[in-house]
């Protein structure tokens, strides 16, 4: 994992405390413990704060997984 990937993982760990890195990497957002639309929005705000990336909920759900976001961010770099 490079530095940006670590920052991305930290965003997820902030929103889903008590969840392991493996769970985050291996699950769809909607399958993560505690997922709901409010938490999704809060994740979007954290991604905005950390990376300046402005996504909406539909885009987030379309990406679906941590790995997909990671790839998307890598392409944008």
């Amino acid at each position: 994992m490079n530095n940006d990937d670590d920052r991305l993982m930290n965003c997820f760990l902030t929103i889903f405390p008590g969840t392991t890195r493996d769970e985050i990497k291996g699950s769809k957002f909607e399958d993560l413990p505690g997922w709901d639309s409010l938490r999704g929005v809060t994740l979007l705000a954290v991604l905005d704060d950390e990376f300046g990336v402005q996504m909406d909920m539909d885009e987030l759900l379309e990406l679906g997984t941590f790995d997909a976001i990671e790839r998307q961010f890598a392409r944008a770099r």
């Binding site: 405390p17 505690g34 639309s37 409010l38 938490r39 929005v41 809060t42 979007l44 705000a45 909406d56």
Partner: protein, 489 residues
């Protein structure tokens, strides 16, 4: 491996308290905190919010949690910080269970749940306070006195908000209502946390707010402040999310809240006038169950615009029904209102009808979105079936006895095919309703039932915190109304 005795001990360790919050608790906390937001205290207004019914103040739950924790564990170390996430609503009458999820020398974690469905989580750190008063606090600003009605600023206005709020809760009230928490934290921290509920619910964002998260550090420097200072630190208009910094009464921290989308407004009679021929539905009498708001309101207006006589029913919102009726009458339409409960026998409720309905539209529904821990709840399915199947059948039989060529509309849902998460029982009940409609069309001619799977449309039931994509209600309903009104040919 733990044995049964261990399991009992563990259970006793983790379950701290249980409580059912009732209307009196709600009024009391609203009064002492000043947070009289309608989502908490006005059942009629709350039914038009994302909650669908009055919800317990998150800060009341938080303070009850602290009080229960301090009561159960007498030698709690000083609080250094905590964070709380209010993930899901807690409704009046629900049994809330507070659990101690983790207890270590330097930290604790609490959760409260209803039927094992976690509604909120609190993470606590113990230790000596380290924070100093934030430099943005302006002691020279006079504290604002509590407002009696919730403010309703725009997102642009919210971005610039800040000020000092006088505490509404007194030291005596803090010590009386939350005695153990007051001994642990000090009364001023209780007052300050209660003031954060007032801030969110009444001032900023105010009327359409939703308290989502709270991250707090104890701050002895701010103990001398007799008010809660606040300033909006960031807004995310796209997400309708607001972050505010707060300080006062011995705490400092960040509040995260949402600006809820306001209740859905249906098209006005004036805006519909050009879409429907004024004589298109003349001669028909349409009974619209649930016509006081949402798609029922829109359907009533469409038919009245076309010259049809409409009778709209309401279960709890008589004022909403009268508002719709007034608008229709003002535009020259004919509209009456009727109290009707889809779970009670239809025949008795329709006994005094002045005009025999030739058409009927059935929009009766219980709250659709409710959080639950399990995929399937038998009780939820029964609740949906009682209205979507039994209530519809009862009504159809009572009306068919009066008008054998009755034409009815049954609103099914795309959820039957799409199966969104958390809507298992809803989808099952709508599917059962569709089967009933199909069999009625086979066996009960000349009456006819049109069942359509509606897309997600903007109504109070589908209101979400964030902007959601909806189909256009007029574009969706007008062809359906024309099809239903076309029978008998």
């Amino acid at each position: 491996m733990p044995g049964p005795a261990d399991a009992v001990e563990e259970k006793e360790l983790t379950r701290l308290a249980q409580r059912i919050f009732g209307p009196a608790d709600q009024r009391q906390f609203a009064s002492v905190s000043g947070d009289q937001n309608p989502i908490h205290v006005d059942a009629l207004s709350a039914r038009r919010t994302q909650g669908g019914a009055p919800v317990v103040h998150g800060i009341n739950l938080l303070l009850w949690s602290f009080d229960s924790l301090a009561s159960a564990l007498l030698d709690l170390p000083p609080l250094r910080s905590f964070s709380a996430k209010f993930s899901r609503f807690v409704y009046l009458g629900e049994q809330v269970e507070l659990r101690l999820v983790q207890q270590e020398p330097h930290c604790s974690r609490l959760s409260f749940s209803v039927d094992n469905d976690i509604r909120s989580e609190i993470a606590i750190e113990f230790g000596d306070p380290e924070r100093h008063l934030p430099p943005w606090v302006d002691r020279s600003l006079a504290p604002q006195s509590p407002a009696s009605a919730a403010l309703d600023p725009s997102l642009e206005q919210i971005a610039e908000r800040g000020g000092n709020l006088a505490f509404c809760m007194t030291t005596e009230q803090a010590a009386t209502l939350f005695p153990s928490a007051a001994r642990w934290l000090g009364v001023r921290r209780i007052m300050s946390l209660a003031a954060s509920s007032y801030l969110v619910g009444m001032v900023c964002p105010g009327l359409h707010s939703l308290y989502s998260e709270l991250s707090i550090e104890t701050c002895p420097d701010s103990d001398a402040l007799d008010f809660l200072a606040y300033r909006v630190s960031k807004t995310y208009p796209r997400l309708r999310l607001v972050k505010q910094e707060i300080a006062g009464g011995g705490i400092t921290g960040t509040v995260t809240c949402f600006v809820r989308t306001p209740p859905a407004q249906q098209a006005t009679m004036e805006s519909l006038a050009g879409l429907v021929d004024p004589a298109e539905f003349t001669g028909s009498v349409a009974l619209i169950v649930g016509g006081s708001r949402g798609l029922g309101e829109l359907t009533a207006k469409l038919i009245a615009t076309g010259g049809g006589r409409v009778l709209i029913t309401w279960q709890s919102g008589s004022e909403d029904a009268e508002r719709v009726a007034r608008e229709i009458r003002s535009a020259g339409g004919a509209c009456a209102t009727l109290a009707y409960d889809a779970q009670k026998p239809a025949e008795e409720q329709l006994a005094g009808l002045a005009h025999v309905p030739t058409h009927a539209y059935y929009f009766a529904t219980p709250p659709i979105f409710r959080s639950q821990a399990e995929l399937f709840s038998r009780e939820r399915l029964k609740e949906f079936l009682a209205i979507y199947v039994e209530g519809f059948w009862q009504l159809s039989q009572a009306l068919r006895a009066r008008c054998p060529e009755l034409s009815m509309f049954y609103p099914s849902s795309v959820a039957v095919a799409e199966r969104p998460r958390g809507m298992t029982e809803y989808s099952m009940a709508k599917a059962a309703g569709e089967i009933l409609c199909a069999d009625m069309n086979v066996s009960l001619a000349p009456m006819r039932v049109i069942a359509v799977r509606l897309p997600r449309l903007p109504t109070d039931q589908t209101a979400s915190v964030t902007a959601a994509k909806f189909a256009d209600p007029v574009d969706t309903m007008l062809p359906i109304v024309r099809e239903v009104q076309s029978w008998p040919r």
